[in-house]
Chain length 457, copies 2
Amino acid sequence: MDENEKRLQEKFAQLKTYLDKGDKKRFRKTYLDMHFYDQSTFYLTLDKPERLSLYSLLEPDEMGDMFDTIEDDLPEIPEFLKEMDLDFAAEMLNDMYDDNAADVLEHLDKADVDRFLGQMPRADANNLRGLLHYDTETAGGIMTTDYVRFHEEETAGNAINDLRSFAETAETIYYLYVLDNHDDLVGVMSLRDLIMLNPEDTLGEKMNSDVITVNVDADQEEVAKVFRDYEFLAVPVVDHANQMVGIVTVDDVIEVIDDESLQDYSGLAGVSVDETDQDNPLKAASKRLPWLITLLLLSMITATLINHYEGLLAEASILAVFISTITGTAGNAGTQSLAVAVRRLAVEEIDRHEFFKLIGKELLTGFITGVVTGISVTLLVGLWKHNFILGMVIGLAMCAAITVANLAGSLIPMLMSSFGFDPAVASGPFISTLSDLTSVLIYFSIAGLFMQSFVRM
Amino acid sequence: MDENEKRLQEKFAQLKTYLDKGDKKRFRKTYLDMHFYDQSTFYLTLDKPERLSLYSLLEPDEMGDMFDTIEDDLPEIPEFLKEMDLDFAAEMLNDMYDDNAADVLEHLDKADVDRFLGQMPRADANNLRGLLHYDTETAGGIMTTDYVRFHEEETAGNAINDLRSFAETAETIYYLYVLDNHDDLVGVMSLRDLIMLNPEDTLGEKMNSDVITVNVDADQEEVAKVFRDYEFLAVPVVDHANQMVGIVTVDDVIEVIDDESLQDYSGLAGVSVDETDQDNPLKAASKRLPWLITLLLLSMITATLINHYEGLLAEASILAVFISTITGTAGNAGTQSLAVAVRRLAVEEIDRHEFFKLIGKELLTGFITGVVTGISVTLLVGLWKHNFILGMVIGLAMCAAITVANLAGSLIPMLMSSFGFDPAVASGPFISTLSDLTSVLIYFSIAGLFMQSFVRM
């Protein structure tokens, strides 16, 4: 535990004493002096009676500031909202940034959403309802409508003055969006540039009119890419008529990047690795079993295949010795190829022409890898068993099995992607189990061909 | 190709014509109107003669703005710098944000670094030299020293005026850092809060004095966590005497998060998945082979183990049928457990007490998973082969192999982490190849015990 954390723990202990004693003044002073995130960390340590007294000591907008930083997918959120007075909860939601309020509402039943929205001024409720319509993983799903807009004829001096009123509600005041008479977005200006202007300059003269926007339906990955490339703090979101409907801010994009990378990682591992639930072995097992059992069934097909070659095995039991070497190595190669393909699909669109080029390259990569690995294993087995024909059989099988596994590792995610599925779902375990099957088939076919030559022992 | 991209391509074509014709005025107008990132995209499409004429049309600071957005680990960067005039390059580096300049210099030979720094004013050169001292993956390695600082007695009105001078050089002017008479960091204020103040308020009265800082040696992952939690746009970096030495800005943190997630993903896959080089099959193969060959050697140990049981196999060749089912399923389970452990280690510190608790939980998770999978396979084999004793042998072996694989999957990264290695290096392929070995050992030991009972065929 470092210094920061220790100090925080002491503050939390103090806050709990004030809360128990109902010492409103001291509690509010200490609590409101903390960062919103620390407030939310404190809030999450409380039990229900403590939370209820907290609600009585704070104003809805103060609760809203804290709720803005709370993770919206915590399973307790609906409970928290329901234990508040209805007015209090509705006012708090209304005081939050609208993107965060919408994220919270998304996790409630429709009936509860209607209850809360029913308590809000109609315009605000409609605004939130609008946000709830968008898919959560699109620009619309992560944007806020609380942004700063000015008319292009506005002067810099007036704009700075007016910013004060926006500072109360806008999620960021560091970018000003400039609209023309038709309310079309025609420019953007950073606050940094604004304070450099002469007070009588108009925004229209000095704004940057090369505005990078994202479409309201754009996938959140695409939005993240704009932030990565241009290093913006916020990006305007436009609808199909090119009208501005909101902005996405960088804090939400960090969340998107984290979520997407967690999804990719979970996909590759064949298990959801988010941290909740993992502390309960029963729940953890229940998360892992579906994939395991599915893949067990797939591997039973491999078993029936080996069973089919039982005659061959009975004649040359030495073949059994190398089954796991071949399936294992091909599986490893397939996993590598899968990872490379999934990652590539995450950063670029691939058209039909590109598709065949990439598959060709991967096939060649697999072949080179296979040849090198095959020669290695030929030598290893040849030297060990003093039987280079056996070595060559294993080496040939290895080379072919790796080439096929590499092909599968890139072909499957690319096919999934072109049929509109998330390629990250094709897990490493799936590819290696699938490649067990092809590897075994290749291995025994080749072994069968050379049977007479290597069985000399 | 979407609208934005099409427009950009047209602009690029136009720019190339101006460049060829040496039309300085038109070129500069179009080029300087573009976003810095688009400028860098254009720059990267140029060949050497084109780049040389570009340098003659632009000022060093204009080049610097563009170079600020270029990825510093592009292999061409040293070449770019060396083809510029020495003065021009040095001035450009000096005009860049110092964190970006240091990142660029890091990829050059020591001699070249000295050459460029020798052309700069001594104070600037020393500043960059200081930044180059920090480990690249620490707060010091990603921070900038171009930040906004004020004395606590400064009034809001003066501060806003003075900000204009900072806006030329500071990487962000959206946070003001407040120092006392000893130059100690005593508070922070956002520009948002500043513009809400009365001109005569002093910063000391109104600042936020609960400043969250990161240590200059802190790992970049830790820095990223502060941004995730607190949703800051920048965080101050302090040295061991608690003196402020710089700030880290959110754009650099996005890069950190991307890099770290790419590392984790590459680790799990057992191959570096960054996109460069992957287009050349030879290079791609050379990236994948080291792990594959290493693991091949490990899997040869498994082969010798199976070889050791050749007598058993000769007697009951049916045993060979299920080798890949058992090794494959245990490997899958081990990969899942590895992924969960690596991810957990990425987000929390684990002490000794926690260590054993987690291992215990993972063991239990593995056992539950093993029991369910074991029962499934017992039934499948029993029904298929009409031999429930054989089924039970396979089921028992599966259960034990999965439990051990789960244990290895969590124990190995945790041990690596406690010995100071990056746990993400323990790849899925490594765990599954290792678990092939233990699985085979378990399988044949159990089969040996029950040999007499199931061989009835």
